[in-house]
Symmetry: C2
Subunit: 141 residues, 2 copies
DNA sequence: ACCCTAATTAAGATTATTCTTATTTAATAA
DNA sequence: TTATTAAATAAGAATAATCTTAATTAGGGT
């Protein structure tokens, strides 16, 4: 997903283009390691010395809701990080030693959520799933 | 799980009994709706006017790690809540309208985590899973 | 080009949670 | 009972994230 694609999606949904938003998207589409809000702020400080954290959080929330970025580390173990989503809905394996994250090959929830929810007559809106442990580099044995 | 059982587990693991800890456990074993840290503090204010939030958070963390209490609302949607664990490891359906939570009948992760992790040569330590949506009372249709 | 309006912004307050530090205390051994 | 020590505590600082408010601005229509 490149910058143009993201901007097109935003436009279609009626969001405005602001310089701040453009730059945040710019940083994210570059890829690489998932970024924290703090890191994004640091990277954007020269261009927007008064960029407020709230603007970054708000923009990220919009992008999350549109499925453009995904979130890693909800679990409160470390600071939440964000990265451009690689298309399909998916979850992460998060290493509690080095902090790196790895995409799961597939999302095991689709059928399961339906089944579990049916039992409780519960209308599923979203689900959160994350596995924490040690990655191949960090595992001891 | 009653208070004695909890205290026995703590004793076995070498934790100390403090009046604060006893009271926090007392409130939790009563059952009922899952409690937030704020609610716990309010309920304990008359007995311990200077109880610090940190003490509550610390005690809850210990109890979580021992599997004695479980955590609801990790997802950052609302304040995290805690309740005595009903034995087996499990997850929750959380209503985004009324905020109530419901236990899932089983944990769908056991086999899945193993499979997913194997593919990545990842050693699983724990996982987080939560379904958000509307409960039977709150769903519109 | 100019105006209008709803969306977006910065700033700062607020809340939830964790961390640091110095003090207190529970459990254990003498 | 007293002394010892490791664990637990309160207080307050620090961090992450959200909310409130008033000012600014992008985009659409004139």
């Amino acid at each position: 997903m490149d910058k143009q694609q993201v901007l097109t999606i935003l436009k279609d949904r009626g969001y405005k283009f602001t310089p701040q938003r453009r730059e945040i998207i710019e940083k994210l589409v570059k890829g690489g390691e998932p970024l924290s809000v703090k890191e994004l702020l640091e990277q954007l400080r020269d261009k927007f010395p008064e960029l407020s954290p709230d603007t970054v959080y708000r923009t990220l929330k919009v992008l999350c809701n549109l499925g453009i970025v995904c979130t890693i580390g909800h679990q409160g173990k470390k600071t939440t990080r964000y990265k451009i989503s690689v298309g399909l809905h998916h979850h992460h394996l998060v290493c509690i030693s080095c902090g790196r994250s790895f995409c799961m090959a597939y999302c095991p929830m689709e059928g399961i959520a339906r089944t579990l929810a049916q039992q409780a007559n519960f209308k599923v809106v979203e689900h959160a799933f994350e596995i924490l442990g040690y990655c191949s580099d960090c595992r001891v044995n």
